[in-house]
């Protein structure tokens, strides 16, 4: 009976293994089906996770949690994985004979995220984190002929290993003082000791690196730029959401607010992240770097909800993380389609996209405006939850910083739109993305608009998921 609650995890693990084995068994020609197999497998995982939503059960004495909070994030990761596979299939096919392992690594990275979100215990959480990051190290360096990609992989490996070590050291100190690694039990054994404070600081630093919060953000732009673009998309959305899932669970359950004033520390981090991410994004000329800095800033917004720590704020975290999947992946899907066609990720390549492919340009504009928080798109509702949570918790200045910088962000998002609609391009051949990319794009567009116009269902889902806290 317990095992059936792990159905999504088991299905994803089996899918990853199946992809690896299929790659070994099938002749080269038969490998075209890999994308389809991945897609179908992820759809099944999505259904299994949706079926598990609403269950609240602690498995293995609390070491693993099958709860709505975990299920919400599982749905989020699998949706992100599906969109990445759909929009990236044309790109992945170009990798040739290594394409099937690419799918397999994507699935294993997804499994790592799922384990992170559902882990009720710090060591399990750490193993999930490592599965995710190790898959990402490999995926980042996947373009071996491309110096940028290899350099990005190496940088990510070294910095990622350091940050994992910092996180693990923090976990070990918390364990040493509290005597348990089960998240829900730590609060009961909490003692205010210097080593505990040191442990919490180290854990914040470790998570902040994974979330690329300023000042732990230096790795993100280089790695986002160097990695293959579907990987960048998955990294920006999935790995960030997974880190948030674990971060919120650990800090809200194990280290409750009244005992430790980590709220203010995170508030300062959030403010720095929002300000620096948005300001540096203003001067970017490469779409991947622009989206990298934009996603740094977005992580700052989400952190505002966690700082607030109240119902609105936490609901905002989940709500925003979900809409961020659609808006950001929509933008990345357009960037992928443009890169497949033109081979360039510079903003120059987007010039006159409005004439070359009106659909791509329109979806890019909508997604970017949603990220900027323009009503009536999804991003506006998300930011509304986050900032009203912050105001409710007394962080008026933080909400103000967030609002101000959101206005600044409109500028660089519109710069892309300007290039697409006003710029001229020597190459005016129309860009026609393949069917699966078009499906992904329409899903992103529909979700971004629908969530913005009618946020109630997602809001209710997020509400159920945060009952835990």
């Amino acid at each position: 009976m317990q095992i059936s609650m792990l159905a999504p995890e088991i299905e994803i693990a089996l899918l990853g293994l199946l992809l690896l084995v299929l790659g070994l068994l099938l002749p080269h020609k038969g490998r075209g089906i890999m994308g389809t197999v991945t897609f179908l497998g992820l759809v099944i995982a999505l259904l299994l996770s949706a079926a598990g939503f609403g269950q609240e059960e602690a498995l293995f004495n609390g070491v693993y949690q099958a709860d709505s909070y975990g299920s919400f994030f599982k749905l989020l990761f699998i949706l992100a994985g599906l969109l990445v596979v759909l929009s990236g299939s044309a790109y992945i096919q170009r990798l040739g004979r290594r394409a099937n392992e690419f799918y397999s690594f994507l699935v294993f990275a997804l499994l790592g995220m799922v384990v992170m979100a559902a882990a009720g215990e710090l060591i399990t959480l750490y193993i999930g984190l490592e599965l995710m990051t190790i898959s990402f190290y490999i995926l980042t360096a996947y373009l071996l002929n491309n110096e940028l990609s290899v350099e990005a992989g190496l940088k990510y490996l070294i910095l990622g290993a350091i940050s994992s070590a910092v996180l693990l050291f923090g976990i070990s100190l918390v364990y040493a003082v509290s005597g348990t690694t089960v998240i829900s039990e730590i609060a009961g054994h909490m003692q205010f000791q210097p080593a505990m404070v040191a442990g919490i600081i180290l854990m914040i630093a470790g998570f902040a690196f994974k979330l690329s919060l300023v000042p732990f953000h230096m790795w993100a732009p280089d790695i986002y730029q160097g990695a293959p673009i579907p990987v960048t998309a998955f990294l920006a959305v999935g790995s960030k959401a997974a880190a948030f899932a674990a971060f919120v669970r650990v800090f809200m359950l194990a280290l409750p607010l009244p005992q430790f004033e980590w709220g203010l520390v995170l508030a300062v981090l959030a403010a720095c992240t929002i300000i620096l991410g948005n300001l540096v994004a203003l001067v970017q000329t490469d779409i991947k770097r622009l989206l990298a800095y934009s996603s740094i800033a977005q992580a700052g917004y989400i952190l505002v909800g966690m700082v607030a720590g109240n119902e609105y704020g936490l609901k905002g975290v989940l709500f925003y993380a979900m809409l961020y999947v659609f808006s950001n992946l929509g933008a990345f899907a357009v960037a992928t389609a443009v890169e497949v066609e033109t081979g360039s990720t510079s903003i120059e390549a987007f010039k006159a996209l409005g004439k070359r492919s009106p659909m791509l340009a329109a979806i890019m504009t909508v997604c970017l405006l949603s990220l900027a928080g323009i009503p009536p798109l999804a991003g506006f509702v998300g930011k509304f939850y986050l900032f009203s949570g912050a105001i409710g918790a007394g962080y008026l200045w933080l909400a103000f910083v967030g609002l101000l910088m959101s206005m600044v962000s409109v500028y660089y998002y519109l710069m892309v739109a300007k290039a697409m609609y006003i710029g001229t391009n020597d190459d005016m051949t129309p860009i026609k993305p393949d069917t699966s990319t078009r499906v992904a794009l329409w899903i992103c567009l529909a979700a971004t608009v629908l969530i913005g116009v009618y946020p109630a269902p997602l809001s209710a889902l997020a509400q159920t998921a945060i009952q835990l806290f």
Partner: protein, 168 residues
């Protein structure tokens, strides 16, 4: 100070000195050998803490397999003058040293001034058995994910290493 403390101090000194050597040696092979010594020092610390199984793991996996892997990796990429293979960046060396020192002092102060909870009761008789019960009981998810982690690492390293080989 009793004998146990003395043994701890000697092993800890050897471990830390060896770890500093990893960073400090100019020849990267010397660094790797220094790393092996550091691994062995950590193993000795585990033994002193009565965690015999962990000590064995440390020797078998780290001092045995990981160090061999590291040395093969060095052999794979080496075509520089050996004495210049692990040069440190002149300016950042001091910054790095300063930061390391500050972190050590900060954490040392925090750990030193903490009143640690003392666990009551004695060590379990059969610690390996207790480990097995936990690993295959409550921690089964982490256990199976660890297998997948190893698989991903092996497959990924093969892809990257072979890909880099083909490229030449």
């Amino acid at each position: 100070m009793n004998l146990s403390d003395l043994v701890f101090i000697v092993t800890a000194l050897i471990t830390v000195t060896a770890a500093v050597g990893v960073v400090g040696f100019k020849n990267i092979v010397h660094s790797a050998l220094s790393l092996v010594l550091s691994f062995l020092g950590v193993a000795a610390l585990y033994f002193q803490l009565q965690a015999g199984f962990l000590g064995l793991v440390q020797i078998l996996v780290y001092a045995g397999a990981v160090s061999v892997l590291i040395i093969f990796a060095i052999m794979l990429v080496m075509d520089k003058d050996p004495d210049e293979s692990n040069r440190s960046h002149a300016k950042q060396k001091y910054w790095g040293g300063l930061i390391a020192l500050l972190v050590t002092l900060g954490l040392g102060a925090a750990i030193g001034s903490t009143i640690w909870p003392q666990s009551s009761g004695s060590l379990p008789e059969d610690s390996v058995g207790a480990l097995a019960t936990l690993l295959l009981g409550d921690y089964v998810v982490a256990f199976e994910v660890a297998a997948l982690l190893l698989l991903v690492a092996v497959v990924g390293a093969i892809i990257l290493a072979k890909g880099a080989g083909e490229h030449d």
